[in-house]
Homo-oligomer: 136 residues x 2
DNA sequence: TTATATGTAACAAATTATATTACAATTAAA
DNA sequence: TTTAATTGTAATATAATTTGTTACATATAA
């Protein structure tokens, strides 16, 4: 997908990982990423559903990581975002009267799925904590 | 990237692979993919620059594969399209005053590049000819 | 009670992707 | 030599996706 959702999610998770326990506001996160706070809250909502963060409403509220930091893998963030098609989209209506058009999407599906699984497997070897070590 | 360029290019190459030697028109290709012929010609232009196809203008013209079919790998098609960022885009202006914002894009660059290389290596094991065998 | 957060919906703006139109240049065949 | 079919490409238009903005109900600490 041609969007910044994964980059945004990694940025959020890295910052939270660097401030363990603290309730970090969406405004603070948005200021670091330099995007709109509503977008941050939407992404936090997705990360929350995936069990990666928890949030607290009201004054002094914010978000923090919700599991043992050493047990978070980059693949979990990638999968939470669910930006699956790493090789792009398929064409919607290939011609079923053509012997290639008829079969292309099944075949692309296999290729795309295999590639996706490969990426997830690769990212599942990368701990968030190790990624976060690269920062000041 | 959230587009259909790779799917389109694979479709083109598969059809040409199934019709070896023939000069296939962009109209015919467009009809099978069910997209506009100008888009097909643009993609053919990219594939041509990558040395994968050759085209002939004028009546009875068209395009055909320009190298030994057994020696074309899916990775070549992927790289020709140059839809690199499989994990998406980076945010443009992370805050340089934040210790994470300052370093995030270098770190994402590494991660994105590694992932891309992984995908290319994976696709470089797949021959177009084998992919094309799945079709009628 | 007030100030500061989140959560989320509805809408707007910007960006990206695809389609369309137009036409010059080329080539095969009638 | 003329005609019909085709590529190559630019310019423009339309559609789809992504990101941003505004608004406000709800929650909570001080």
């Amino acid at each position: 997908m041609n969007n910044t959702r994964f980059a945004t999610a990694i940025h959020i998770m890295t910052l939270l990982a660097k401030m363990p326990g603290a309730w970090v506001s969406s405004d603070f996160l948005a200021g670091s990423i330099n995007i709109n706070a509503v977008i941050v809250r939407k992404e936090l909502s997705v990360l929350r559903e995936a069990g990666l963060v928890e949030s607290k409403k009201g004054k002094e509220g914010g978000s923090r990581i919700s599991k043992k930091m050493d047990e978070i893998y980059i693949s979990e963030i990638f999968q939470a975002i669910n930006n699956s098609d790493v090789l792009g989209k398929k064409n919607n209506h290939p011609n079923p009267k053509c012997f290639v058009g008829k079969e292309i999407n099944n075949n692309l599906n296999n290729l795309f799925t295999e590639t996706n699984d490969l990426v997830i497997q690769f990212l599942s070897k990368k701990k968030l904590s190790e990624f976060a070590e690269n920062f000041g």
